[in-house]
């Protein structure tokens, strides 16, 4: 293998181990899982904004979950922003409005999620507002838990992030995402502790209205407005915090095509936002966000590219060589089978032949990752069943590679589009 590539792989290993160690130190050093027990006498007003575009399948369940939140009804109102849906989304909401007076509907021409949120924001007078994606559902007790976090912090806390789980994972891809989302809950908890959260997820992040209005609302040109606003808040020295056990359930892509589309948008948006706020990189003024999180975000993308290049050397090139060799002997596999039968399949195997340095590195980083995943499942109060353990195999072996492919596509598209703009 190319020495340069080997050096890059070793550097990636170093960064991965460093990050894992840093996270584990954060996990053990503080009582980061402590829930806020702040008693709130006078609950503040909250608006739940639900931007919706052709969501007839899930809108009713989503709106009901918001209306049924365990929260004083006179302090809670729900606004659905119909972003030019061509299905029955608006009709469904209208029919519900008769029963729920604190439910409002705004009809717009299709202009994107950020535009929908900004329009609704103009009508919001409550102290806090929540964004809720129309394909997500929120647990009854979540809102109070999250408001308690606001009440136990200072005015600089601008966003409280929920703990997002996958809603009824059915396909293998959804089950893999279930592991990813559960792990992300723990990672977001860590990032929150480091004041380094870089995304305020669509499903039920709660914002301090005054702050969001002050910084100019959501960026309508961004591909991922939830990442953009998080970066902007970080830049303006505000804090984002995750609330433990504030469960929100979201629908995830069922198949590869949907997954590819969603992740490509996230990655493109991620690259776009990172580039927009690149001045924060390594800037100690922005604390752990500038020094650790900004470099890690871009390293994650670069590592994705590296993983893909490495997979050529580890999987594709040996496969091409095997095909070439079999071609040389006219695809006569009998000779090899006979030989394997005669001498055993692994008669040429020698344990000394393994690359122990790489093996050591793989085992340590894999162990670190597995501990993190198991820790995450403990934190999210999810049990381990055999099925879930089996899903760990494709999660570790293939999922990162799949994501790497998407990263490369997103990177290429971003660069090509940028050139066009120039």
């Amino acid at each position: 293998m190319n020495t340069f590539l080997l050096i890059l792989i070793r550097i990636s290993y170093l960064i991965s181990i460093y990050t894992l160690v840093f996270w584990f130190l954060t996990l053990t050093e503080r009582d980061i899982f402590k829930k806020s027990s702040k008693r709130v006498k006078d609950w503040p007003t909250v608006s739940v904004l639900i931007p919706a575009y052709n969501e007839e399948k899930t809108i009713k369940k989503c709106v009901l979950s918001a209306l049924n939140l365990d929260y004083p009804k006179d302090k809670l109102n729900v606004i659905v922003v119909n972003d030019g849906s061509t299905d029955k989304t608006a009709d469904i909401v209208k029919s519900m409005m008769k029963k729920f007076p604190n439910l409002k509907l705004i009809n717009l021409k299709n202009g994107g999620k950020a535009h929908a949120l900004n329009t609704a924001l103009k009508q919001v007078n409550s102290e806090f507002f929540a964004c809720l994606d129309a394909d997500s559902f929120v647990d009854k007790k979540t809102l109070k838990k999250m408001i308690r976090v606001f009440k136990s912090s200072d005015e600089k806390l601008a966003v409280v992030i929920p703990a997002m789980k996958v809603y009824k994972p059915k396909t293998i891809l959804q089950k893999i995402q279930d592991i990813e989302y559960n792990t992300s809950i723990l990672l977001n908890r860590l990032l929150s502790e480091l004041d380094s959260a870089y995304v305020a997820p669509g499903p039920f992040s709660i914002y301090r209205t005054e702050v969001v209005k002050k910084i100019g609302g959501f960026d309508e040109n961004s591909l991922t407005e939830d990442q953009e606003i998080a970066y902007r808040l970080q830049k303006n020295m505000y804090h984002l915090k995750q609330c433990p056990e504030a469960w929100v359930f979201t629908s995830t892509p069922k198949n590869g095509r949907e997954f590819f589309k969603q992740r490509k948008r996230w990655d493109r948006g991620g690259i776009q936002t990172w580039w927009k706020y690149r001045e924060l990189m390594f800037n100690p003024k922005y604390g752990n966000f500038g020094v650790m999180q900004m470099p890690l975000i871009i390293i994650r993308y670069l590592m994705g590219i590296l993983a893909l290049v490495s997979s050529y050397f580890f999987y594709i090139r040996p496969l091409i060589k095997l095909i070439h060799n079999l071609n040389l002997v006219g695809w006569d596999l009998r000779a090899y089978w006979r030989d394997a039968f005669r001498h055993g399949l692994f008669h040429n195997f020698s344990w000394l032949n393994l690359n122990f340095v790489n093996l050591f590195f793989i085992i340590t980083s894999l162990t670190g990752t597995l501990i993190l995943v198991f820790y995450a499942f403990k934190y999210t109060k999810e049990g381990w069943k055999l099925g879930r353990l089996l899903v760990l195999i494709p999660y570790i072996a293939l999922y990162y590679l799949l994501q790497s492919i998407i990263v490369v596509v997103a990177f290429t598209e971003t660069i090509l589009n940028r050139r066009k703009e120039w």
């Binding site: 840093f22 003024k285 500038g290 020094v291 060799n325 000779a335 122990f356």
Partner: protein, 238 residues
């Protein structure tokens, strides 16, 4: 100006722990590398013993020069085949180690030269043995070097036939990266007029370019047919 929190102590502590883990990995690799060298040296020593044993058996059969001596041939042939098989296996291991830079370059060059000499010694021995005992064995000397891009193809084809004929086909690879300054190798090259690589010598016939699967199949079939006939007729094949 307000600044955000930076956990400097934690950054330093993480760096310290990471370096320890990294150094642990590297040291672990170095220990295993040493084990590999010792293992390869042991393989070498074992080859020496095997060769001396074979040499003695050959001398013994030569000394008897009687009818009874042919009774010893099957056992002798089995030992030769096993020894050549072992030699080829251990060479494959050394090559695999070197391919991944897991054996020190100097050690590797020394081991390679030693294997060239061992291969030639075994090649001589098999040729001598065939004059003493009836053997259904074909030998191939295979010359290659790392600059030759198509040599690996010849290697694949030879390995394929080795799998088909098993111990009846004895392949002696000569890596010319290390054989260029070995006098006996140069002598053999001159004798068979070998000027480029890959080249193979099947028994006494030299082929000076890549020999494909079909052609080599025909050559080997002819060779084994000739040997079978010779064995049936009771004459020793050379």
């Amino acid at each position: 100006m307000r600044r955000k929190k930076l956990f400097k102590r934690k950054y330093v502590l993480s760096a310290f722990i990471t370096i320890i883990i990294f150094l642990l990995g590297i040291s672990f690799g170095m220990i295993i590398d040493n084990m590999r060298i010792r293992y390869v040296e042991n393989l070498n020593a074992q080859q020496e013993i095997n060769f001396e044993n074979l040499q003695l058996q050959s001398d013994y059969i030569d000394l008897l020069k009687s009818e009874n001596s042919t009774n010893l041939c099957p056992a002798y042939q089995a030992v030769i085949e096993k020894a050549v098989g072992d030699l080829s296996d251990s060479l494959a291991k050394v090559e695999e180690y070197s391919k991944n830079n897991r054996v020190n370059e100097e050690d590797y060059a020394r081991i390679q030269k030693k294997y060239i000499l061992d291969n030639i010694r075994y090649w001589f021995l098999v040729r001598t043995a065939k004059k003493q005992c009836p053997m259904n064995t074909t030998t191939i000397l295979y010359f290659y070097d790392s600059e030759c891009k198509i040599c690996p193809n010849q290697g694949v084809i030879l390995s394929y036939f080795k799998k088909i004929y098993g111990n009846n086909l004895l392949v002696f690879p000569i890596n010319m990266d290390y054989g260029k300054d070995v006098p006996v190798v140069l002598m053999i090259e001159r004798q068979y007029n070998i000027t480029g690589y890959p080249s193979i010598v099947v028994e006494d016939e030299a082929y000076r370019s890549i020999v494909g699967k079909d052609e080599l199949s025909r050559i080997l079939q002819d060779e084994f047919r000739r040997k079978n006939e010779a064995m049936r007729n009771g004459t020793l094949s050379s």
